[in-house]
């Protein structure tokens, strides 16, 4: 038997609604608080929001292949400190996750993580955009998402085939949207700031024409398509319209796109070099609105740890990406996005897309699986890469004050974070 907990004084916010109610956790399952054994450990949630565990659809964990940047252990600690009880590990590892054997290997490694790790597969062998990966074999071992990461699949024919072939397996093809040719040498968003800073840019249209194309292919094939890390107002509008017309498309935005824009690159801070790039101020504002109006389903961390040496280079040679697991929730809350929209985008909807249960199935009621996140929405903290649990030192929010802190995280009934600290 795992530890028994009773969570007192918090406000539960889930798909059912908002209510002040205590809840017990026994053997990894939620129980009514009256049913807690007298030995149950008290968890003080006063002033806090009790949510179903956060789920990140876009995490790069480094292991296997890039252990200098992150391991399952360090990435798992970062995840639970950020309130995530489940993360979807991207397949751009070494080796790439393109066979069932690699899936099993990564799952074995992921036992070292404090959170649940779901494993995404590749669309093509070695993520090269050549032959299709064995999607049936991947589906058979439980893979639900496949992505080639980076710029995604450039060939419209290959994407069409992947969508068609994947449909009977119920696998979702996840695609970043970026026309590589229109982004040649791009270091940032093309606009006033790229013109001023003398850096080659990529226009919003390089993303939007791929979103239009991929929506058309989703319509043609009827297959499930998920857009990864969309970043422009035009993309949000196209995807929102496609969803409202009933197409099986979904989309995510990275937390940093809710808070930063191209003007923030004025000091050439390579930790703010991300792909897709930080966009115009108007895109940032549109992204916040798209989360609220559900044109965008999910907010993701796009956690991309890098070792210091890969960032301390000239801007055009620095590797892109920012760590995000420990800041994503606070970034969204700091932008004054209503907490129920944040929780829908960071817990209910990604869990549903990942097949972990509908928002009502996962609601905080007796009998549900005890993956919970307890959030103090008012507590502020200053981001310091030296105090983050991730091995990556590349936070786009280094030195910034954020509001909204994870007080406790419960994974499978186990209190892995308490008082904002990992419980070893």
């Amino acid at each position: 038997m795992t530890q028994a907990l009773v969570i007192r004084g918090g406000t539960i916010i889930d798909a059912i609604g908002s209510r002040t109610q205590d809840i017990a956790v026994v053997d990894g399952v939620l129980l009514a608080h009256e049913d807690a054994p007298s030995s149950a450990q008290e968890v003080d949630a006063s002033g806090c929001v009790v949510s179903t565990g956060l789920v990140d659809l876009h995490t790069h964990l480094g292991e296997p292949g890039d252990e200098a940047a992150e391991t399952m252990t360090s990435g798992g600690r970062a995840a639970v400190l950020g309130g995530f009880t489940t993360v979807l590990a991207m397949p751009d590892t070494l080796p790439a996750v393109d066979t069932a054997a690699v899936v099993e290997h990564v799952r074995k490694l992921a036992e070292a993580a404090l959170c649940h790790v779901e494993v995404a597969g590749c669309v093509t062998v070695g993520r090269t955009g050549g032959h299709l990966a064995p999607l049936g074999e991947l589906a058979a071992v439980g893979v639900r998402y496949v992505s080639d990461c980076d710029a995604g699949i450039q060939s419209p024919l290959l994407l069409r085939r992947a969508l068609e072939y994947a449909r009977p397996f119920g696998i979702t093809i996840a695609q970043p949207a970026n026309s590589l040719e229109l982004s040649t040498d791009a270091q940032m968003h093309e606009g006033e700031w790229s013109s001023r800073l003398g850096l080659p840019g990529t226009p919003a249209e390089a993303e939007e024409i791929m979103v239009m194309r991929d929506v058309a292919l989703a319509r043609l094939t009827g297959a499930k398509l998920h857009f990864q890390t969309l970043s422009t107002a035009g993309s949000f509008a196209i995807v929102g319209a496609a969803r409202r017309s009933g197409l099986p498309v979904s989309a995510e935005i990275a937390s940093h796109h809710l808070a930063l824009c191209d003007a923030d690159l004025a000091g050439y801070d390579t930790n703010k070099k991300v792909v897709p790039p930080l966009r115009d101020m108007s895109d940032k504002v549109a992204g916040q609105a798209a989360v609220a109006d559900q044109s965008i389903d999910c907010i993701v961390s796009d956690h991309t740890p890098q070792s210091t040496d890969r960032k301390e280079r000239p801007f055009d040679h620095a590797e892109p990406g920012s760590v995000g697991l420990e800041t994503a929730l606070a970034v969204a809350l700091t932008q004054n996005i209503e907490i129920k929209h944040v929780l829908r985008a960071m817990s209910w909807r990604p869990a549903e897309l990942l097949g972990l249960g509908s928002p009502t199935e996962r609601a905080i009621t007796p009998g549900a699986r005890a993956d919970l996140t307890i959030i103090d929405p008012q507590e502020s903290f200053t981001v310091s890469t030296t105090s983050l649990a991730t091995t990556g030192t590349n936070s786009a929010f280094q030195g910034q004050e954020l509001r909204g802190r994870v007080r406790a995280t419960i994974v499978d009934g186990r209190l892995v974070v308490d008082g904002g600290q990992v419980q070893a």
Partner: protein, 317 residues
């Protein structure tokens, strides 16, 4: 001022101060012993990641005329690979007790990054497509010598604006001094958000030349045709080159400038550089004096303590 990174970071007062004290340093070059002790005991590192004979020599002469020691650090382009840490290089230089680092790099932003890792004054000698502030200072100084106060004067910059740090720096400096700037280029060689710049644009060189008080030609690189930015150099010359016919129509008092090296027969017809109104040699000469002024303001005993209207003569004896 602690560093010279960009014209955009200078106030109009800073800019005018550099131009105001430059003649004093130009005068040093006329002396029998063209050397003053202003920066004796100080060391200036010339950190050039990109070949540039004329800019490096200009800074070296400027530093030496002020009695500073110079240290040439040429980093071959081929060794600037992805594995090299900029920080390691910066900290190595810092450990040697350098007072100023003059840096040229093919990547935009490198001088900014260096300021995070070194205490020395950083002078940007050209970063990527971004800035080349001493070039703009010397160009403004040279234009003022010919035209007087630049307020209201109409200056054309012709050519590859998009990839040009010279253009970015000069647009800022010239407009700060009150000049009206027109950029003449095909749309493919203008920066994407050109409407946010305080300039006019034109695709008709003949029309623009008719009202120009000064003409600044930029170097046209042949690789631009490989990127489909222009069809070929012949068409570029026809539309945007200063041909002999265009030069003949120009008032002989209108100065013609170029940052060098010139592609004769491309942006400028072969014989045009020999006209008296082409003042490329003045630009090079003034470059040394402007760079002396910059190094003096950054490192001289006055430095930022220099009273606003003080003449630097006192320390130049």
């Amino acid at each position: 001022m602690n560093h010279l990174l960009s014209i955009d970071e200078l106030s109009e007062a800073d800019l005018r101060e550099v131009l105001r004290i430059t003649p004093t340093f130009a005068e040093v070059a006329q002396r029998r012993i063209a050397k003053v002790p202003a920066l004796r005991g100080q060391t200036v590192a010339l950190l050039f990641y990109e070949d540039s004979t004329r800019t490096r020599l200009s800074f070296e002469v400027a530093a030496k005329r002020l009695s500073a020691d110079t240290l040439n650090v040429s980093v071959k382009t081929s060794s600037v690979n992805k594995g090299e840490s900029l920080r390691d290089t910066a900290e190595t230089i810092e450990a040697m007790g350098i007072d100023a680092v003059v840096v040229r790099h093919r990547s935009s932003g490198v001088p900014w990054q260096l300021t995070k890792w070194v205490d020395a004054a950083v002078v940007n000698a050209g970063d990527g497509w971004h800035q080349h502030p001493t070039q703009a200072l010397l160009d403004c100084f040279t234009l003022q010598q010919k035209l007087g106060d630049l307020s209201g004067s109409h200056i054309l910059m012709v050519g590859d604006i998009k990839h040009s740090r010279v253009a970015r720096s000069n647009v800022s400096a010239l407009t700060m001094l009150g000049a009206e700037v027109t950029l003449v280029a095909p749309p493919t060689l203008l920066p994407p958000a050109i409407h946010t710049w305080p300039v006019r644009t034109s695709h008709d060189l003949d029309k623009a030349l008719a009202t120009a008080d000064g003409v600044y030609l930029l170097r046209m690189q042949s690789e631009r045709q490989n990127e489909a930015l222009i069809p070929d150099l012949r068409e570029y010359t026809t539309l945007y080159g200063l041909t002999a016919e265009r030069a003949a129509k120009l008032d002989p008092t209108v100065p013609i400038m170029h940052p060098g090296p010139m592609n004769r027969g491309v942006e400028i017809a072969a014989d045009v550089p020999d006209l008296d109104q082409v003042i490329v040699v003045d630009q090079v000469r003034n470059g040394v004096a402007v760079r002396m002024a910059v190094l003096f303001l950054l490192l001289g005993s006055g430095g930022s303590d220099l009273p606003p209207n003080a003449a630097p003569q006192a320390v130049l004896v």
